[in-house]
Each structure stands twice: as structure tokens, then as C-alpha cells.
């Protein structure tokens, strides 16, 4: 199958400190992955692992230091920003911050329609908006004339999904879309993503730290740590039989909603994320229970175990 979007050796460097003593932080270190049409791809990791920086580069908010993003044959070398091609839309973490509290939410919907010239008349625009709101379980009547404070977080998140759907995007980038939403309605949003994938053949780049919802809805997953993809492959393999020690730690640290499965062993925690970014060799070596001398000196090469990509000295021979 031809991939919908290809990320090739994407790299982003930031600098910390003053002009005199600058530390270079490689927030995203030469990562590559592909998303196929009608696929939910999860980019997972802890805060500060670089996952949001990847999304920002795909959306054109951030200039990559190196690397290419190819979206249905259009490369990011092309000076026209990729996101402008209507094909990629995004929704963000906090639905209350997405909308200006002093503006009616319908303005955002109409604005998108007019910006992309999707309709000539107001009636036509309303028709398009209503059909997209219906596909997220709302209707134009429920939204018309209301301000953001009149909706719950779950409803606002649905409205921002509807807004993203207006241009019929091929790829939806969802950055922590359910972490601010209440538990009892979280799954309804997650189920909505599954439905959109199946019914509209849309692809979703799901960025999250929540591996349980990632497992539930996605096909492929990449686990990021301090700018690197540590492990990548089908969720069934990566999350059920993790190969990388970091994936194992993450997987074991998810509190299972079952009192019979309490944590028994103890863990060690890093003090500072910038220390880990500046570390030589494998970034995880400081906390890894299986670290060897070479892990502290050399960055491991990528290896493949069947169709799973792993970046760890245990597997690179």
C-alpha cells in the first residue's frame, strides 16, 4: 500500500542557556515513520519526549532542522506549507483553550468553510457544517448561537473534531485529545475516532501518553523517548510483548483498573529530563535495568525483530 504520509529522518534542535554557554538539545533525532491510508498511528511517550514537536513540524508550525515530510507526493521542501493543502487538520489537548470564550463557536466553523472556499452561500455553508456536526453526534441547532462556556469539555472536543473534518482531511493530527475529557465520556471520543477511520477512511496520528486508549484504537504505534523512537510496530506486538526495556517499564507502569494487579516492585525515577537529553549513548541508559557499558557510550543502531523496529543494544548485536 502506498503510504499517506512519510516522515523521513526528521530532526529538530533547540538551544538551552545563554549565548555564552549553550547546550544543544535534539528534541527530535532523525526519526522516520509512515502512516497508511485509513490507519490510526499512535505516537506515544512521556512529556518532553518530542512527540508534540513532531506534530508541530508536520503541521508547519515549526521548521525542521533537517529531514522531509512527504504528504501524498507533496514534499515539505516545496515552499507551500503542507498543512495549507487542506489534507491535514489538527485538534488539541484542551478544548477550553481551543475556542475564544468571547466568540460564538459557530464562527470557527463558518470561518473554516470560507477560508477554504468550501461554500459560496451561507445556506450551503450551514449544510456542510451540519453534516460534519452530525458525524460527531451533534447538530447545527445544538451549536448555533452558543458560546464555549455553554458546552462541556466533551462537546467542545467534538466540535473541534467537526471543524477539522470540514475540509475532508486525509490525516487528522490529534494531540492528547482525551486527556482533559471526563472519564465517563472519554471512550465516546475514542470510539468516534474509530468510527471516523472506518467510515471516512481517514488516517489519524494519535499523540498520547495513554497507552490503554492507544492499544484500544490504533494499528501501529511508535514509542518515543528523549527525541528517539525506541520501538515501533503493530500495537499487539509492541504493547503485549514489548522488546525494549523502556517500553516494558511504560507498560508495567500503567495502573490497571484491577485491584488484583497492584504494583509490587519498586522503580527509580529520573531527576531532570534535560540531563537525559544531553546524555551520550542511549538516552535511557541511566534508568535502564539492563544497561551495559556500551549503552552509556554509543547510541544503539536500529534493529528489526520481525516487523518491530527496536533501538536497543540488546537487539542490535
Amino acid at each position: 500500500m502506498k503510504p499517506l504520509i512519510e516522515i523521513e529522518n526528521l530532526r529538530k534542535e533547540f538551544f538551552l542557556g545563554s549565548i555564552l554557554s549553550r547546550d544543544k538539545i535534539v528534541a527530535v533525532d532523525n526519526i522516520s515513520f509512515k502512516i497508511n491510508p485509513a490507519e490510526i498511528f499512535t505516537l506515544a511517550g512521556e512529556s518532553g519526549c518530542g512527540k508534540t514537536t513532531v506534530a508541530r513540524m508536520i503541521l508547519g508550525f515549526e521548521e525542521p532542522t533537517a529531514g522531509r515530510i512527504i504528504y501524498s507526493k507533496e514534499s515539505s521542501d516545496n515552499k507551500e506549507p503542507v498543512w495549507f493543502t487542506q489534507g491535514i487538520q489538527a485538534i488539541f489537548q484542551n478544548p477550553f483553550e481551543t475556542f475564544n470564550p468571547l466568540r460564538k463557536v459557530e464562527h470557527y466553523l463558518f470561518e473554516t468553510v470560507y477560508n477554504y472556499k468550501l461554500a459560496e452561500s451561507q445556506e450551503k455553508a450551514r449544510e456542510i457544517i451540519n453534516s460534519k456536526l452530525e458525524s460527531v453526534g451533534l447538530s447545527y441547532e445544538e451549536v448555533a448561537g452558543k458560546y464555549p462556556s455553554e458546552f462541556s469539555g466533551g462537546q467542545l472536543q467534538r466540535i473541534s473534531i467537526a471543524r477539522a473534518l470540514l475540509t475532508d482531511p486525509g490525516l487528522l493530527i490529534a494531540d492528547e485529545p482525551v486527556s482533559m475529557v471526563d472519564a465517563s465520556i472519554r471512550m465516546s471520543i475514542v470510539n468516534l475516532f474509530k468510527k471516523l477511520k472506518e467510515e471516512l477512511q481517514m488516517s489519524i496520528l494519535y499523540i498520547t501518553h495513554d497507552l490503554a486508549t492507544a492499544y484500544y484504537m490504533s494499528g501501529q504505534i511508535a514509542i518515543m523517548f528523549r527525541g528517539h523512537i525506541m520501538e515501533m510496530g503493530p500495537v499487539e506486538k509492541v504493547l503485549m510483548e514489548p522488546a525494549h526495556p523502556y517500553t516494558k517499564l511504560l507498560r508495567e507502569s500503567i495502573p490497571e483498573a484491577d485491584p488484583a494487579k497492584k504494583w509490587t516492585d519498586r522503580i527509580s525515577i529520573s531527576d531532570l529530563e534535560s540531563d537525559e537529553y544531553l546524555r551520550k549513548g542511549c538516552k535511557f541508559a541511566g534508568r535502564c535495568p539492563e544497561a551495559q557499558d556500551k549503552c552509556k557510550e554509543h547510541t544503539p543502531e536500529a534493529a528489526y525483530i520481525d516487523d518491530v523496529f527496536v533501538k536497543c543494544h540488546l537487539y542490535s548485536g
Binding site: 472519564a183 484500544y216 485491584p259 497492584k262 529530563e273
Partner: protein
């Protein structure tokens, strides 16, 4: 009251009374809550945002500022053989109880530290106001001992707050709350906004403190996975009321209230990709509650009586209480 009890509440009501354009608006954030909390246990309170769980905790800690008003009921602590009705105490008497007898870790505790002084100075400020007659060096020694006992790195005392990660600051805030060996520690969403690995470290620390002090921790979080891991008994709150209370195992393996069942069954599980349904609709606004059971508009099993009358929290098993007409109707 048997001497295993540390805290009892009797029909407590805490409302936010707002003045909106001349007319009064009443938000019933805590409405008729009765709790009995024991010594040496971790008591969990679960519920969604806006269900009143933080207000409940503030009421128990007697930390109420307008527009939040205490509208009735009693909060009684049992200290040794003494009964303390905390809400009838003067400000000064309440202040004396705080940190030494009851401690409170607010939500977002990682941002409570003074940003321009080192953490050891925060420790000193804290100890100075509670332990008199100690020299500077003695105080730093107590701080070092305390940090070491809890397995945190000693160097945090020499650091400024911004030099530490959120997870480390959160753990220092929790460590401070346990410093004076309080009988009751309240923790409001201590793991929220932290990464999973760090969350696990916070849970580990709370467990360590409880095990060494043999005290009571009242833990509020919406995360059912955290409750499964740490709470001994737990209550589920919905729209200002406790709707179910039982041992944590009983809540997870035998939930009786339809809302509790939705909460538990909607959680995705590893190794099972089957469809998970969540409760339909949205949580109600506390300023505009439906009549009868507050969950009835979302409940798939509602009957006539649910729309008219509010169900009481009644005994539905040994150590198990539920507020639902489905289970309480049998008694009539």
C-alpha cells in the same frame, strides 16, 4: 464510636452561593454526605470533574472561603479520646491542627513552592513555624533525614523549585505533608498531569508514608487505575453525593450503581480490543440538577421513581452502600 474511627461526617452540605445579576445562584457541590473513615487506611474518592470531590475535601479540612459556604452538618475527628468538631473551632484552633494533625496536598501541589528560595529554606520555614527552639542546623538535619528516609535524592534540598521536574516537586510536596506525622493526609489528584512512570513513583511514596505512619490517607482522583492500586476502601461521587461506597475490590468486582458500572466497564484493557461503551450524555451542572436521581437522564435502567425521588445511600451488602432505586427498592 469504636476507636478504629478517625473521621465521621454527618449530613454535610457545602454550597457555592453566587450572586448573578442580583439573583442568588446556589451550586450544591457537597450535598448530604455521610462518611466514616478509619485509622490506618487509604480511602479513595473517585468522580469526574465538577462532581464536588475537591469541595468535599476542603470541607473536611475546614478550608472554606466565600463563595463556598458550609450549610449544615458536622465533621468530627477522633483524636486519642477527644472528639473534635473542626467546623466549630476558631481560626486559631484550626490552624494548630493543620499539618500536625491533618495535612492537605492540594491539586497541582508541585507549584506551591516559593520559586526564589532553595527547597531547604522552604523546609526551614515550615519547621520553624511548627517546632520551636531548634537551631538552623538541627532543622536542616531533620529535613535531610526525612528526605533520605523517603528515598528521594538529598540534592533536592539544595535546588530551586524550577530545577526539578514536576514529578520530583510533587513528591517533595507530599514528603512535606508527611513531615509532622499527621494522623490524616488529604491528597487531591496527586497523580494528575504526571507521566505514568512518575505517577507510579508518587503512588509508591504515598504508600510508603502510610505504611510508616500507620495513618489515614484520603485520596481524591478520577483515575480508577490509581484507586485499584492504592485505595483500601473507596467512594464514588456523582453530582455532589456519594452514590456508592465499598471496599475497593468490591467496587471493581461487584459494582451495583449503573454509573459505577459505566466507569469501570468503559476502561480499555490490554489484551481486549472489544468495544467499550461509555455513559451516554454529559455530567449535569451542579447549579441545575435534574429532579430525582441526578444520574437518571443518563441511566439506561431508569424507572419512574428515579425521575421523581432521590435515592438514599443504603446498605446493600456487608461494607457496601449504594444510592440507587434498582437496589434499594427490594426493601420496601
Amino acid at each position: 464510636m469504636d476507636n478504629n474511627t478517625v473521621l465521621v461526617t454527618e449530613n454535610i452540605k457545602s454550597y457555592y452561593v453566587l450572586d448573578v445579576g442580583g439573583s442568588k445562584k446556589v451550586v450544591k457541590a457537597v450535598d448530604d454526605v455521610n462518611l466514616t473513615i478509619r485509622k490506618n487506611e487509604i480511602y479513595g474518592i473517585a468522580g469526574e470533574s465538577g462532581c464536588g470531590k475537591t469541595t468535599l475535601m476542603k470541607t473536611l479540612y475546614a478550608l472554606m472561603n466565600p463563595p463556598l459556604r458550609f450549610m449544615g452538618g458536622k465533621v468530627i475527628y477522633y483524636r486519642d479520646d477527644q472528639e473534635i468538631d473542626i467546623l466549630s473551632l476558631s481560626k486559631e484552633e484550626r490552624r494548630k491542627l493543620r499539618w500536625e494533625y491533618i495535612a492537605y496536598i492540594p491539586q497541582g501541589a508541585m507549584s506551591i513552592f516559593n520559586p526564589v528560595i532553595k527547597l531547604k529554606e522552604t523546609y526551614r520555614d515550615f519547621l520553624d513555624s511548627h517546632l520551636s527552639g531548634k537551631t538552623r542546623d538541627e532543622i536542616f538535619e531533620i529535613a535531610r533525614e526525612h528526605i533520605k528516609e523517603l528515598g528521594l535524592p538529598i540534592k533536592v534540598l539544595e535546588a530551586y523549585p524550577h530545577q526539578l521536574s514536576g514529578g520530583m516537586r510533587q513528591r517533595v510536596a507530599i514528603a512535606l505533608a508527611g513531615l509532622l506525622k499527621p494522623a490524616v493526609i488529604f491528597a487531591d489528584e496527586p497523580t494528575t498531569a504526571l507521566d505514568v512512570v512518575v505517577q507510579r513513583g508518587v503512588v509508591q511514596l504515598l504508600k510508603d508514608i502510610q505504611e510508616s505512619l500507620k495513618n489515614t490517607i484520603i485520596l481524591v482522583t478520577h483515575d480508577m487505575g490509581i484507586h485499584a492500586n492504592i485505595s483500601d476502601r473507596m467512594a464514588i461521587m456523582y453530582a455532589g453525593k456519594i452514590i456508592e461506597e465499598a471496599e475497593t475490590k468490591e467496587i471493581f468486582y461487584n459494582p451495583l450503581h449503573p454509573y459505577t458500572r459505566f466507569l469501570i466497564n468503559s476502561l480499555p484493557k490490554f489484551g481486549d480490543k472489544g468495544v467499550r461503551a461509555s455513559a451516554p450524555g454529559n455530567p449535569p451542572s451542579l447549579a441545575n440538577l435534574p429532579t430525582g436521581c441526578p444520574f437518571h437522564p443518563r441511566c439506561p435502567e431508569k424507572t419512574d421513581i428515579c425521575t421523581r425521588e432521590v435515592p438514599e445511600l443504603v446498605q446493600t451488602g456487608e461494607e457496601h452502600k449504594t444510592a440507587c432505586w434498582l437496589v434499594s427498592k427490594g426493601d420496601e
